[in-house]
């Protein structure tokens, strides 16, 4: 976070660029500045807002970058489908960095790439396990794509895995470009691939083009360009890696006693892993997870000298000596590391041939073939003293001696010589201690075990050992803390240094030892630990032995008090009432006067605080300080000193004032811009600075105790009880990762995740079908239960939705919410056809129980209906069930709601139900997720790609040749519904009579077939009525006659009009015809004239 001073830009002083700039400036001057200013205030405000929005858009949530000052090598993984040129790329890059020709690539290869950067290359196979593991640790991915083929599934699978695990930087590399003969297709392919790549990552993501291979490597120029891009790459911290320590093992050794292995070949092994620590600090007793091999507690962890250190002093470029390479598992520099032996390959000078001559040579060669050293053979040699007795072995004898004898035996010397060759380093001393050869290590291990097991019983022995050197106290402390294997091994290395360190740390260790020591807290607290400085000084002098003696005496003295205390579990501290009497004394009161704001700093009191002087940020109260310093002046005796002090105060005051002024006026506009953001960032950088400085002057032991092992250090991790298959089937091609677990992550529980089937995965996922999840460091198989949350309940689903997220509940190790995960159905190589990633998601919630329900519909039919109640059958099978559901709500299809009442199938409804109604009870049945957690132990297999977990339901059926059971009930078939016949509604007379309505059913009688009396009776009119009737009829008749006449007349008129208009039309047509004729005649004449004149012209021309 430090703001690095960049080199200032130097503008061109002359030349074309300078002229261009001058021109540009002139142009700007010419413009009318007013023309481009916003006219309206509204517009100005809009513009300003837009600008602010753009600024805000640029900002990211500031993350704490915990990379140490000397960072671990960045991990560059080379990923791609087979035959895309991964190995060739690594070889070319390694050649570029170190001038080394790699023959084989096994495990991580670390090289020094620059003054401040180291790179670890890892090649990723296309096995799903490796892809997942590498996605979790890589800082930069070189994604190789065979351009002649195009994208392959592996590429997209890997990108998908990357996305859910934080998405580290990705750089695409197109290879096989030399296969294109046509330049145009090459260009178009490049463009097509580039755009597809961009949609997957981001617009403008870097894509590299590597043309053909020269001498088995890519062209130097292209590789150089690529290496430049790698060297300037910046990395944004990823949340998971920023909160967990981890290590990528670049070397694995088996330390198990060969004898033990011989007796029981499948015994648990003791294994050491070597590698750079990354992420956060690793605690000494941490639990770690090795993906593919399970959880382990760290038995021991120790710092080793860096095998591939950054150059101390580097000029512009690295010298040849500084271009180091470290790849213990690959064949580098003629040194081969194989399990626990080292082979030095000297090509040319010595080669074994079959046609050997004399017996002497034969003997020498047979000696070379010996698998063990002479010493170990001697050890293995047995001697049976009696015919029937168990053969006695030299090693049996020797083991007893290990504790007592020193480490240097003859065979050690022999092996040490070989060992030393592997790191041709100067300080052999260190190596001898750290890189103990086989038996050394074994000896150390047994020693360590002995000490740990017997630590409590015969402490004297260990004391004698550690007291032999001068480490009287700190060693004791270290033994208590239990992380002392290395300390104990190295104790001889640099005694003087250690002594010095101890002397420096003496005081602190004393207090820490006292507090974290063996004594009971009451003793420590009542031992007047801090009552006076003199006391502590005395204690320092006396050393631990004295305090050891005090131990019993003190306890006896305070026994009474302590007993009382012990009985109470309270944070309130006990006190002596007598001790308070002292406060009656005026002097006593005066002694703490300066703890009050009204007091002064005049008197020299041990309680006095000089915070103001040693505190860095003194913004608390500047006035307060002034007051203080004034008083200090008074206290000064000599005049000169006084003057000096005054000067100092004045300067301080001035600085303060200036700061105040600056804060008020200087950065005002900057602060308002992104005040909150800057504040946040500043806070982070301040805290980081503090983190760095806090332990600068501490000895390594305290540092490890307080903060753990820092990232960037090269460490050796000892693990005990590793399964033997881990060693037996170890294959350096598959990465070994040691991921630290935080305290809560050790536990198992239910995890609720939001999950979505991947759109490229062929099928939807079936509920309760096992899936393999990649979550945190882990890969494990579990049984998910899919559900959807409508706001009231979590309802189980049979299958994942097609294009929607759903919730999956799985059982597994707890991971923090918001952790990404991806799921696959199988990690083995068998089903490689489709897209292997089944689903992706994030963790939502963690709990020890989740409520997921599925709908349960109990259906019954009524068999006897009363007014509002009915007897219902077929819903339950026993009276007990009925009793359980008493009071539950039931419904009918027609929507009459009811309530179960009484025992025997009798239900009450709001209305009378029909016999044809179906009555159903809608209930929610809780589904218990299965507690199934099966870690993927792929590293323990002989063929790593063959891991087989719990099979899917479909797979089992296929294997056992069982057909999918089909319930005929749940088959879809055509529903035939008989048309319903409704009986007429019968309303009793009494009811009708009582009805309050005007319209009654009796009024809606049917029409009769015969005319009723009313219809068929004769009607005789009254005379007046008749008169009216006839008059009306006459009037009607008259009107009809009139209308008829009018119609006839009208038609006549219409005819006349038609004739007239026809005549008119004929005239008009005649006129038009004439006009047209005239026009065309004229036109014809004009044409003729033109033709004639042209003819004349022609004839004239002909004449001429």
């Amino acid at each position: 976070m430090d703001t690095k001073e960049h080199k200032a830009h130097r503008p061109r002083q002359s030349g074309a660029k300078k002229d261009k700039k001058i021109q540009k400036q002139q142009k700007i001057k010419e413009k009318n500045p007013k023309a481009f200013a916003p006219v309206s205030g509204r517009k100005a405000e809009k513009l300003a807002r837009r600008k602010q929005e753009l600024i805000q858009k640029k900002l990211h949530v500031p993350l704490v970058d915990r990379t140490p000052v000397e960072p671990p090598p960045i991990i560059v993984s080379v990923v791609g489908p087979p035959q895309t040129g991964k190995s060739t790329l690594i070889k070319s890059l390694v050649k570029r960095y170190t001038k080394h020709n790699l023959t084989e690539i096994k495990g991580p290869i670390t090289v020094v790439s620059g003054k401040k950067r180291r790179i670890t290359f890892i090649e990723c196979t296309n096995d799903m396990n490796s892809m997942i593991d590498i996605a979790k640790i890589t800082d930069l991915v070189l994604l190789l794509i065979d351009a002649s083929f195009g994208f392959e599934m592996e590429t997209f699978e890997f990108l998908n895995i990357l996305q859910v695990h934080g998405f580290p930087k990705v750089m695409g590399v197109l290879t096989h470009l030399d296969k294109f003969k046509n330049n145009k297709t090459l260009k178009s392919t490049k463009k097509r691939l580039k755009h597809r790549f961009w949609t997957e990552i981001y617009q403008g993501a870097k894509l590299f083009y590597l043309s053909g291979i020269i001498n088995g490597r890519y062209p130097n120029q292209e590789i150089q360009n690529l290496s430049r891009f790698i060297s300037v790459m910046k990395f944004r911290p990823l949340i998971w890696r920023n909160t967990h320590p981890y290590l990528v093992a670049d070397r694995v050794e088996d330390l198990t006693d060969p004898e033990e292995v011989r007796q029981n070949p499948v015994c648990d092994r003791t294994v050491t892993l070597y590698g750079y620590l990354r992420g956060t600090n690793m605690k000494p007793n941490m639990k770690v997870h090795i993906p593919g091999a399970g959880d382990q507690y760290l038995a021991d962890i120790s710092i080793l000298p860096d095998p591939c250190p950054l150059p101390y002093k580097a000029r512009k470029s690295l010298s040849e000596k500084q271009k180091l390479i470290y790849a213990p598992m690959s064949d580098v520099g003629g040194i081969m590391y194989d399990k626990d032996a080292v082979y030095i390959n000297i090509p040319g000078s010595f080669t074994k041939t079959d046609d050997n001559g004399g017996p002497g040579e034969k003997m020498v060669i047979s000696l070379q073939d010996a698998s063990d050293t002479l010493a170990s053979k001697l050890q293995e040699a047995s001697l049976s003293i009696f015919a029937n007795s168990v053969p006695l072995k030299a090693s049996d004898l020797n083991e007893e001696l290990y504790d007592v004898s020193s480490e240097s035996t003859d065979n050690n010397k022999l092996q040490r010589n070989r060992r030393r060759a592997m790191f041709n380093d100067e300080n052999d001393e260190n190596y001898m201690n750290n890189e103990l050869n086989e038996s050394d290590r074994r000896a150390a291990l047994t020693k360590y075990e002995v000490r740990n097991s017997e630590g409590n019983v015969n402490k004297e022995i260990t004391f004698v050992e550690s007291d032999g050197d001068i480490s009287s106290e700190s060693d004791e402390g270290s033994e208590d803390s239990g992380s002392d294997l290395d300390g104990a091994l190295r104790w001889k290395s640099n005694l003087t240094n250690k002594a010095e360190n101890m002397f420096m740390a003496n005081r602190r260790v004393n207090i820490m030892q006292l507090i974290y020591g063996e004594r009971t807290p009451d003793e420590v607290a009542y031992n007047s630990l801090l009552n006076s400085a003199q006391d502590t000084m005395n204690k320092d002098d006396e050393g631990p032995l004295k305090s050891e003696e005090d131990f019993f005496r003190l306890a006896n003295n305070d026994a009474g008090d302590i007993k009382i205390l012990k009985a109470i579990d309270s944070s309130k501290s006990c006190f002596n009432i007598e001790s308070l009497d002292g406060w009656d004394d005026e002097r006593m009161l005066e002694s703490i006067r300066n703890r009050f704001i009204t007091g002064s700093l005049e008197d020299e009191n041990p309680n006095e605080l000089n915070n103001s002087s040693d505190n860095e940020d003194d913004e608390v109260c500047s006035d307060f300080e002034d007051l203080e310093t004034d008083e200090v002046i008074k206290a000064m005796q000599s005049e000169e000193a006084k003057k000096e002090l005054e000067q100092e105060i004045l300067t301080q005051k001035r600085i303060l004032l200036k700061k105040k002024f600056d804060a008020e006026y200087d950065n005002n506009d900057d602060e308002t811009k992104v005040e909150f953001y800057d504040e946040l960032k500043e806070g982070i950088s301040k805290q980081l600075q503090l983190n760095r400085e806090e332990f600068d002057d501490d000895d390594p032991h305290t540092r490890v105790m307080v903060e753990g092992f820092r990232p960037g250090t090269y460490v050796r991790i000892l693990l005990k009880g590793m399964p033997c298959e881990f060693v037996k089937y170890f294959d350096p091609v598959y990465p070994v990762i040691v991921g630290g677990l935080l305290t809560t992550e050790e536990n198992l529980g239910f995890i609720q995740v939001r999950i979505k089937r991947h759109r490229w995965h062929k099928k939807i996922l079936k509920n309760k079908d096992p899936l393999i999840f990649s979550l945190g460091w882990r890969r494990f198989q579990s049984i998910p239960i899919y559900s959807l949350n409508d706001n009231t309940r979590n309802r189980m689903l049979k299958y994942t939705p097609e294009h929607m997220h759903c919730i999956a509940t799985i059982y597994g190790p707890i991971h923090p919410p918001n952790t990404g995960l991806c799921a696959v159905q199988s990690v083995s190589r068998d089903n490689i056809a489709g897209f292997r990633i089944s689903a992706t998601g994030t963790v939502l919630d963690i709990n020890h129980s989740f409520e997921i329900v599925k709908k349960l519909k109990l259906v019954g039919t009524p068999y006897k209906i009363f007014k509002n109640t009915a007897f219902i059958k077929d819903m339950f099978t026993s009276a007990l069930e009925v009793a359980k559901f008493e009071g539950a709500a039931i419904r009918t299809v027609s929507g009459i709601r009811g309530q179960k009442s009484e025992g025997h199938f009798r239900a009450t409804f709001e209305d009378k139900i029909l016999m044809s109604d179906i009555v159903f009870l809608r209930a929610w049945y809780p589904v218990m997720p299965k507690k199934f957690y099966n870690p993927v132990t792929s590293l323990l297999l002989s063929t790593k790609t063959k891991w087989q977990g719990m099979r899917l339901t479909g797979e089992i059926r296929k294997d056992l040749n069982i057909k999918t059971p089909i319930n005929p009930e749940s088959r879809y078939r055509k529903i035939e519904r008989a048309s319903r016949r409704f009986n007429p509604l019968h309303i009793s007379k009494s009811l009708q009579a009582g009805l309050p309505f005007a319209s009654k059913p009796k009024l809606f009688k049917k029409k009769r077939s015969k005319p009723t009396y009313m219809q068929k009776r004769a009607v005789v009119l009254e005379p007046r009525e008749k008169k009216v009737y006839t008059l009306m009829q006459q009037i009607q008749t008259l009107k009809k006659e009139k209308d008829k006449k009018r119609k006839v007349k009208q038609s006549e008129r219409r005819e006349v009009h038609a004739k007239k208009s026809a005549k008119q039309e004929a005239l008009l047509a005649e006129k038009e015809r004439r006009e047209r004729k005239e026009y065309f005649r004229k036109e014809g004449l004009a044409q003729k004239r033109v033709n004639n004149s042209s003819d004349e012209h022609k004839s004239k021309k002909a004449k001429i």
């Binding site: 807290p521 400085a533 009985a567 109470i568 006190f575 005026e586 009204t598 605080l609 332990f695 923090p816």
Partner: protein
């Protein structure tokens, strides 16, 4: 897969081990609980505390052996929510409330606890101190809004009858904290309360305590205010509890004092009345106790040291630093238990000038696993 069971023996430091177990997720076994006592096994209040833990968590497994001398506790997740708990009369509310403060920020749902019992006594931290000093310390770790302790009823020993409502928000993670400047005391405040006795007693206590600070506040700044008194006249509380609990069952009075420094370091002292004691005696005693606490130095009173240290460990993987006066036995054991559960050791440096201790730790990067995301 399951993590190692941590083993402890003895009944002392019972609460802190269970709390640390819940926070770290490690199972814990405590045996030899008063095994040599005439009345062996867990006491009622300890069982009550276990019940409270069961209420605030989900999935915890508590196994107690037949004689009650051994407890196996497998922690679940902290769920929180609205919970009421009767603390009984053996221990004050402080016994139950104190550890809850450490749990509350890391819960699934915000804590809303209602405690019934004794509010002020001489054994446990009183609710007044928790409200005025302990809870304010959480602000330094970034827990501010929604933090509340409401004392709706007072209860004195032996019969109690008090009621307290504790609310705490949920956070994702804490902030690292550096607090090394203890400053100088600028004011002393306090709360005097009395139940079933004349409210005049409160004033008498205050006057007595005030006389002791005469020497310091003669000039400016320091003043003692009387916060609460005469709780027997205060209107009673929630109607649900009214029926079966009677407020102020026993007579008593208590005084708690908080000294605040320029850097808002809070140093506390409190005393409750012993039988037959006069308010003046109590006031004097408390005042002197506060003076001796001030003399010890440090940025926090000795009874609250543990909370600061625990929260420092639970903060992100950054350096936190605090200046403490003399460590109490309780704090020392807390440091050791923290080491056992979280594998964190404090760097402890003595500052010879001020005779105080500087404790530095690197947090474990604890985040609230229980908090839901959407």
């Amino acid at each position: 897969m399951a993590s190692k069971i941590l083993k402890f023996s003895g009944h002392n430091y019972f609460r802190q081990r269970l709390i640390l177990a819940i926070l770290s997720g490690k199972p814990v076994k405590i045996d030899k609980v008063r095994s040599n006592d005439s009345d062996p096994g867990l006491k009622d209040f300890e069982a009550s505390f276990l019940r409270l833990l069961d209420k605030v968590t989900n999935g915890s497994i508590i196994e107690i052996n037949y004689s009650g001398t051994s407890v196996l506790f497998k922690p679940g997740v902290i769920t929180g929510g609205t919970i009421s708990h009767d603390c009984g009369t053996a221990r004050a509310i402080g016994y139950f409330l104190e550890p809850m403060i450490a749990l509350a920020p890391f819960s699934k749902d915000p804590f809303n606890l209602i405690f019934f019992g004794i509010t002020n006594d001489n054994v446990d931290t009183s609710v007044d101190i928790i409200r005025t000093a302990v809870m304010l310390q959480l602000k330094r770790f970034g827990i501010e809004e929604g933090l509340e302790l409401k004392i709706s009823k007072r209860g004195s020993p032996p019969l109690g009858g008090g009621e307290v409502n504790f609310k705490c928000p949920v956070v994702k993670s804490l902030k690292p904290m550096q607090f090394t400047d203890e400053g100088r005391i600028k004011r002393i405040r306090g709360i005097a309360c009395c139940t079933r006795v004349s409210p005049q007693n409160a004033n008498r206590m205050i006057d007595a305590a005030r006389s002791d600070y005469e020497i310091y506040y003669r000039q400016i700044m320091t003043h003692l205010t009387c916060g609460t008194r005469g709780f027997d006249i205060v209107k009673p509380m929630s109607p649900t509890w009214k029926s079966n609990h009677i407020c102020n069952r026993s007579p008593g009075f208590a005084l708690s004092l908080v000294a605040e420094s320029t850097t808002s370091a809070l140093i506390t002292a409190e005393q409750a009345a012993n039988p037959g004691e006069t308010p003046e005696d109590l006031g004097k005693r408390t005042a002197k106790l506060l003076l001796s606490e001030i003399r010890k130095g440090g940025c926090i009173g000795s009874s609250n040291q543990w909370l600061m240290l625990l929260l420092m460990v639970l903060s992100p993987e950054d350096v936190s630093k605090i200046r403490l006066g003399q460590l109490t036995a309780f704090t020392i054991q807390y440091l050791r238990d923290i080491r056992d559960f979280f594998d964190v050791t404090f760097k402890i440096k003595q500052d010879p000038e001020s005779n105080t201790l500087l404790l530095t730790s690197v947090g474990v990067g604890y985040i609230n696993y229980n908090k839901k995301t959407t």
